[in-house]
Amino acid sequence: MPRFRPWLSPLLPLALAVVACGGPFPQSTLRPRSDFAGAVDQLFTSIFWWAIIVFVVVEGLLCYAVIRYRHREGRPAPRPVHGHTALEIAWTLAPAVILVFIAVPTMRTIFATAGEAPPTALKVEVIGHQWWWEYRYPDLRIVTANELSLPVGRPVQVSITSADVIHSFWAPALGGKRDATPGYVTRIAFRPDSVGVYSGQCAEFCGASHANMRLRVLVLRDSAFQAWVRRQQAPAAAPPRGSLEARGRDVFAKSACIGCHTIDGVSKGIIGPTLSHVGGRATIAAGLFPNDSPHLARWIANAPSLKPGALMMQMPVAGADLTAVIAYLQSLK
């Protein structure tokens, strides 16, 4: 008869750890890159070790009892013990004490990360849309989408809300998530501490393309950030007359695009992401695809086929017109 061997189960995590090796893990919560994420990671690590201790001790006792006291012929009938008051008190107090060691740092971290940055912080407003992100920098008068650029080392105050249903803004390397709830503004604050590109995504189920509501955060050196700001603040590029891009602009201006998209000086739509500087983004459609001609072409022709439920319908732009629009969009650095 097979015997119960729960002591094998600790081997499992080991095996899995082996499997898990590799990958750059762009969305890992275990590689904090901001003060907020760092504090959270520290807290989690300490709770994790407490949990491991409890796990080892309690599972150990369980396994020991099951093995040591299994039925063997000739063993006398067990003594009918009904309880033991001192033991009961002991194993009520012990977890309570451990919990104090978990709760105190927890409370401390709650207040330390309560979402308030110093007044000098860079202010960013994040607005969730089905299924893309809008970012506003009120002090810099910048509006952009899906790719969030931040300077390294400077505190950021993020205010989060939604234009439709509930989303959740999450860039794990920079900190925990915060829901974007319509009619309600929440905040997080953090200071990115290393330059890099961090991926994240919407974490609250928000409908058909919840899985495709991704985002990227670009933490830039200060000079690079300033350059980025200047580019964003400049008016949208005006293509030279007669060029392919100029034709693209005209097609764009005559198409339904203008009903949904903003391009400074061309259109004022607000349903979709602003395209004034779309050429400067590395990805389109909320981090789903590289921002290159083939993907743009497929996207404009039939967005819902690339992204289920996408609120940008199929566009009757094709052939040379399409090529021109793409060229135009790509010129909007």
Binding site: A114, G183, Y184, T186, R187
Partner: protein, 110 residues
Amino acid sequence: MPEAGEHAHPTVGTYLRVAAILVILTVLEVGVFYVPAFHVVLVPTLLALSAVKFALVVLFYMHLRMDSRFFSFLFGGPFLLAVVVLVALLFLFFGHFTLRGAAGGGGAGG
């Protein structure tokens, strides 16, 4: 009142007296509502008055006063739970205890 079994019910006289008090309290409630002088203490007064009415009906008309204590528990437990939940929800939605205003008190404002 002496120990009484499940079926000992108050007399018709008690019922009538309770009804009289209930009517008086209701008149008071409406009265308080209309007298401007009371407006500072309107809410506590009204809450107190309706609590008394509530208690009277439950204790006498629903016989909890003389029925088994267990019925009081079956009713009182969930009732208290409902009250605690209500108060907790009001705190969560209106309380201004979000230090440093992180989330605007949980209200729908924002």
